[in-house]
Subunit: 139 residues, 3 copies
């Protein structure tokens, strides 16, 4: 069994953002030399998500509005986590809705995806450097 | 390390549906000959989920009503994704709530499940052929 | 390829609770002798979650209040699942929001975590013995 590990760094200019990281994951997969296996992708932070969905600007606007209604950033005093001096309770909650990680099948050296599957980093408390872990195991 | 890949095809008659695919996954696992490892099951589409929960009709009715309140299909104009000519923005969002994939332990050649765990395909934009990927790695 | 399986048992005194199980998972990982691979952690029940987030009391209070608003326990008659004689429909739904399982990278014999990542068992229908499965594969 082979394993391969790589970190990528992401810094968004806005508090919230969705970044397509599919081509970066594909690059890491090619470097790994692994042909059959599983590929895990997760943020190393608890106010961000990695998820698979559509690379369509309108959908991302829908996610943004919908998440903000479900777990609003403001007023920040509504969340007990923010009593600690933080202002990112909503980011921890948004991350739970969108999920932490994805596990993707690796087949014949490629991410085994349907036509529209793309991997996104979902940032909910950005404007600073964050790390995304890619771990691939297989042969 | 061994790996095994199989696709199953699902076409629901209704826009939304929950389909128990546990026995199909078990069949694929037996065919793989893998005794110890991990089994990934995911839709190859971005308007559907694979999840583990109870095979109980009342609960599925609760999921349906609750998801429809959280991310309603209509009016379709409420979602920017639908400006592209689609009408399935709600399906992309419902899929995020219910999750994309499951990873199940394989132990002694079986899905390592508690008493009530069953694997479901959750369709949110059906009435056409969809594919579910099963990828098993182990020994 | 090596594989290692372990169950831990959890019984909460309250219906709902969040229990940090990181050190127990680390103990199982050390016992496995696996240095590089993947570690799956999931409840063997369908009214509980395993998830990764912050070990901060205020945030857990936020999760509790927010989940209760999204999928309230009472009145229990609002859920069709409870027509079966159960009263835990809300627990099945809360588990979907928070997710079933986590998959964690194992690197150099350790859980490959960022600074704040901690693994929690999220109980939504407690006061009885529940099992959590840890399955590690790798080398």
């Amino acid at each position: 069994m082979k394993s391969h590990r790589h970190e990528i760094t992401i810094e968004t200019k806005t508090r919230r953002a969705f970044v397509n990281i599919t081509s970066e994951v594909e690059k890491v997969l090619r470097a790994s030399g692994i042909r059959e296996g599983l590929c895990l992708v997760n943020p190393m932070h608890i106010s961000a998500s990695v998820f698979i969905n559509d690379d369509e600007r309108g959908l991302h606007a829908d996610f943004e509005r919908w998440l903000e209604e479900l777990a609003p950033h403001a007023p920040t005093e509504q969340w007990r986590h923010n009593d600690t001096g933080e202002d990112n309770a909503d980011a921890h909650i948004k991350r739970q809705i969108m999920g932490r990680e994805v596990v993707v099948a690796v087949t014949e050296g490629k991410l085994d995806f349907g036509t529209w599957e793309q991997i996104f980093y979902g940032e909910f408390d950005g404007r600073r450097q964050k790390r995304v872990l890619i771990k691939i195991i297989g042969e």
